[in-house]
Amino acid sequence: MKIKDAKKPSFPWFGMDIGGTLVKLVYFEPIDITAEEEQEEVESLKSIRRYLTSNVAYGSTGLRDVHLELKDLTLCGRKGNLHFIRFPTHDMPAFLQMGRDKHFSSLHTMLCATGGGAYKFDRDFYTMADLRLRKLDELDCLIKGVLYIESVRFNGHSECYYFENPTDPDLCQQKPYKLENPYPLLLVNIGSGVSILAVYSKDNYKRVTGTSLGGGSFLGLCCLLTGCSTFEEALEMASCGDSTRVDKLVRDIYGGDYDKFGLPGWAVASSFGNMMCKEKRESISKEDLARATLVTITNNIGSITRMCALNENIQRVVFVGNFLRINTLSMKLLAYAMDYWSKGQLKALFLKHEGYFGAVGALLELLNQS
C-alpha cells in the first residue's frame, strides 16, 4: 500500500462512541474513489465498505439509521456519505470478533473511540482484535460533533429544530431552527445517564451537573415494571398508556389548582404517588406504568435542566442523546416543561442526529490529528 497523502489518515474512517447501553458508530464512505485508488485498495477495506453500505442490519442487533445518512459530504478533501450505525454495548464481543474476522487490524488505521467503553474495552480491542484505540474525551467529542453537524446541515435541511406552540397540543409542531451564534448554550445529553454542559464557545465548556435518572432508568424501570425488554417496546407501551392513573396530581390532593403556590391542577404532585394504594396498584395497566416512567424521567430531566439554565443564566437548551430517539413524547414534554415553567424564557432545541454526536466528534478527531 502506498501512502499518498501523509496528512490524510488512511481509510476506513470511523468514529466510535461506546456508551453504557449503545455503541454508536459513524462511517465515512468515500464516493470519489478513483479507478486507480480502487485498484490499490486492499480487499479487507473493500469488504468492510461493501458490508456496511449494502446492509442496514448487522448481526442480530446492529442497525444502520439510514434516514440519518449525510450525503455528498466533503470531509478532509474527500467526498462521501456519512453512515450512522448503532448496536447494544453488550454485543461488543461480537463486534470485536467481526473486526478480527474482517482483518481490520491489517489496515493499520487508527480507531478513534470515545465514551466510557473506549476505556473499558481498550484492552479487549487489543487482545481480541489486535486494535489499538485512540481514546477521546466524550464531552469534547460531543461538542465537536454537535457543532460540526450543525454547520454542515442535514442534506440541505436544518439539523436543529424546536416545537412551536409547545403548550398547545393541537398546535404543537416541529419547526426548523437556525442555530446561529449558538453561545452560550446548555447542552443536555440524555443517554443511559444525563450530562448537562454549559458551552460558552467552541472550546470553552464545563459540565454543570448530571443525573443518574436517564434513558437507562426509563428502560430499566420499564423492564422491571412491565416485563418488556427493548426501548422500542417500552416506548410503544408508553405511547398508549395514561400516567395520570399512576401519578398523584395536584388536583388529586387539592381538588384543583393550588393557587397559593401557583401549581396547576394537572401538575404531578407525586410521581407514582397513586401506587401507594393497593387498589390503585391493581387497577392500572402496564402501558400506564410505562407512560408514568417516561413522564417521571423526562420531567425530572426538565426540572434539573431548568435549574441549571437559571443558575448559569443561559436561555437556550439543546437536548441530545439516544433517549430522544423515536421519542417525540419526551421531546414534546421537555419543550412544554421548558416553556411553561420558565414562562416562555427558555427554549428547548433538538437535533436530528440525537445520539451520534460523540461518534462524529471522534471521527473529526481522527481527521484532525493525523
Binding site: 430499566g220 404517588g273 393497593k278 426540572s303
Partner: protein, 778 residues
Amino acid sequence: TKMAACSRIGRGGHSMDKSITLPADEIFRNLENAKRFAIDIGGSLTKLAYYSTVQHKVAKVRSFDHSVKETEDDPLYEISVQEEITARLHFIKFENAYIETCLDFVKDHLVNTDTKVIKATGGGAYKFKDLIEKKLKLKVDKEDEMSCLIKGCNFVLKNIPHEAFVYVRHADSEFRFQNTHPDIFPYLLINIGSGVSIVKVESEDQFERIGGSSIGGGTFWGLGALLTKTKRFDELLQLASRGQHASVDMLVKDIYGGAYGTLGLTGDLIASSFGKSATADKEFSKEDMAKSLLHMISNDIGQLACLYAKLHNLTRVYFGGFFIRGHPVTMHTITYSINFFTKGEVQALFLRHEGYLGAIGAFLKGAEEDNPNQYSWGENYAGSSGLMSVSPELNPMQRARSGTFDMLEMDRLERQLVNLPLLQDPSSYIPDTMDLTEDAVAREYWLFCFEEALEGVVKRAIASQPDLPQTRERAEKFSQKYRHKLQTLRHQPFAYGSLTVRSLLDTREHCLNEFNFPDPYSKIKQRENDMALKYFQKAVKSLESLSWEQRQFALVKGLLAGNVFDWGAKAISDVLETNAGFGFEEAKRKLQERPWLVDSYNQWLERLKGPPHKCALFFVDNSGIDIILGVFPFVRELLCRGTEVVLASNSGPALNDVTYSELQILTERIAAMDTVIQTGIKEERLILVQSGSSSPCLDLSRLDKTLATVVRERHTDLVIIEGMGRAIHTNYYATLRCESLKLAVIKNSWLAERLGGVLFSVVFKYEEPPKYQEETHQ
C-alpha cells in the same frame, strides 16, 4: 394493626384500635385546663397539640420584719411553698389507629375548657373532620399545611436549643447538633412528603415555595410497592437498608471500567439508576431494587435542593416530611447526596421535632391572641420523650403502648431570653465545654455520677418538705423518672440534643419540679445564709487590716474558698453532710497552693493596678459562705475602686445556688451592716438582676432581657463568672468582647484529672478580649 399503605385515601377508619387504655398521668397530661387545641393528621401519624396551665409548687422566700425584734437565733427569712400557675404546651404524637381512643380520652378528661374550635392541618384533617367534630364537639378549622409547617419550624428553631442536627452515620455520635444562629432567617425547608416542596423562608411571616419535585416519598413508596410487592413504607426502608444497589444501577465503572478521571467522577458513582435492570432475563432481589430506588430518589432530591440553594444563595437547608422523619436510612442518603452535589459547602440539616412542625404551626395559628411568639419557651425534659423514642429502626420490637406515644412539652418562660450582648460571636458560642454525646468516656462517667447522686437528692427532696402530703411517694416517682431518663440517655445520648453536664442537671431540675420539689435545698440555703451572715463583718474587718496587695489576694482566695461550698458536688456534699463544722477556714486550707491549675492571678493583679473598670457583671453561684463571705467582700472592693457592680443570680432555684429573691434579702441585710454596700445600693452603683435561668450552669445565649439591657446601658467591661457549673462545665471557652474572670474550684476528682489536676484544683482564668475587638466593635 397499623394502617395499610392506603391510609390517606380512606380506609384508615377500619383499623381503629380501641382496645388500649391510656394512662391518664402519662400521656395526655394536664387536660383539665386545656384549651386551644390543634391537630395535624398525616399519612400514618396524628399529632395533637394543646395549651394548658400547670399548677405547681414554687418556693418563695420572704424577709421577716427585723425592725420589731431581732434575736440571734431567728432565721433571716422564711420559706414558704406556694402554688404558681405557668403555661405549658403539650404535643402528643400517636399512630392514626389510636385516633378514636385518643379523642374519647381527651373528651373525658376535658373539664374547664371554653374552647370551641380545633385547628386542623395535614392530609388526614379532612378525612377525620367528622369524627373529630363528633367526639370533641369542637368545630374543625382547617389551616393550610405549608404555612403551619413554616410557623412550626420557626418556632422550634427559635425556642429549642440544639433543635437542628447534622446526621453522620457510623460516627461516634450520629447526631451533630447545631447551635441555633441568633437570626434563624433566611433558610430553605425541603419538605419531602409524597412529593417535594422547596420553600424559602425569609422572615416570621414571609415564605415562598420556590420549587418542588414530583419525585418524593410517594415515589419511593408507590414505585417501591410495585417493584417489591412490599406494602409498608417502613418495610421498604428496611429492605433498602439491606440491599446492594450496584447490582441494579449502572455505575461509572460499569461504563468506563474505572473512574472517569477528567471529570473527577469516581467509579462507584451511579451513572444510570436502574441501568442494569434493562433486561428481561434477569431477576433482581427486592432489597437491591429498594436500595437502588432509595438512592435514586435521595440523590435527585439532594441535587434539586442544592440547585435551589445555589440559585437563592442559601446555606441553611432543613429537611423534613415523612420520607425523612427519624429514618436514619433516608437521613444518610440525603446527607450523602447534599455533600456530593455541594462538595461539602452546604450541610443537610434535620430537626429533632420535625414531626411536630405542622401541629405546632396549627396550634400557633389558633393561639395568636395569646401571643405565644412574644414569649420564650423551653423544652421540658421531664415531659418530653426525646428523639427516636419510637423509632422502629432503633427498637424494632417496641410496639408497647408507651413506645407508641411520643411527647413534647414546652414551658412558657417568664421572660424573654436573649444573648449576652458581650459575646464575641453569638453565632459560634457554645455554652458547654464538653459534649458528652461525642465523648463516650465522659458520658459514662457523668451518667454514673448522676445516678449515684440520685439517692442523696431524693433524701434532700424529702427533707425539704416535712409538712407536705405524699412527700415520699412523690420523691419516689421523681427518682423513677430521673433514673429512667438517665437510662434513656445512656442508650440515646442524643435524645434532647447534645448531652452535657448542663442538660443532665437541667433534666434533674425539670423532674424535681414535675413532682413538686421546687427547691430541695431551701432549708440548707437558709441555714447557711444565716450562719455566714454572722461572720460577714468580721471577714470584712480582717480584710481591711491587710495591705492592698495582700487584700487582693485574700479576696480572690475568699471567693475560691467560698466556692467550695457546693452541694452539687458529691465530694463536698459528703463532707458537709458529715461535718457540720466545716467552715470557711477549712475550705481555704483545702485549696490548691499557687501556682494554680489555671493561674492568671498575676495578670489580674497587674490589671487592678490600672484604672478601675466601669462596670462589672458578676454571675454568682452558691448561697451561704460563697455569696456572703466570698462574693460580697469582693464586690465591696470593686465598689470602692469605683466600679459599678451588677450581681446576676438565678431566677429560679437550682441546687444550693442563691436565687434572685434570696439575694435581695441577703443584700438588704448586708447593706444594713456595711456602709459601702449600702451606699452602693442607694446610688444604684450596685444592682441585682436575675439571669433568667434556673440552672446550675449558664447559657449566655439565653439570658433575661433586662440583664442584657443593663449590661448594655452600663457599658459593662468586666464579666465575672464563678463556679464549676458556670465557669467550667459551661463557658470555659466562651470568648467575650470585654475582660473576663472565670474562677472555680474543681470539686470532682474525675474532672480535675481530666483537666490535669487534682481535687480542689483552682481555675483562675483572667482574659482580655481579642485584640481586633476595637475594630469590629459597633
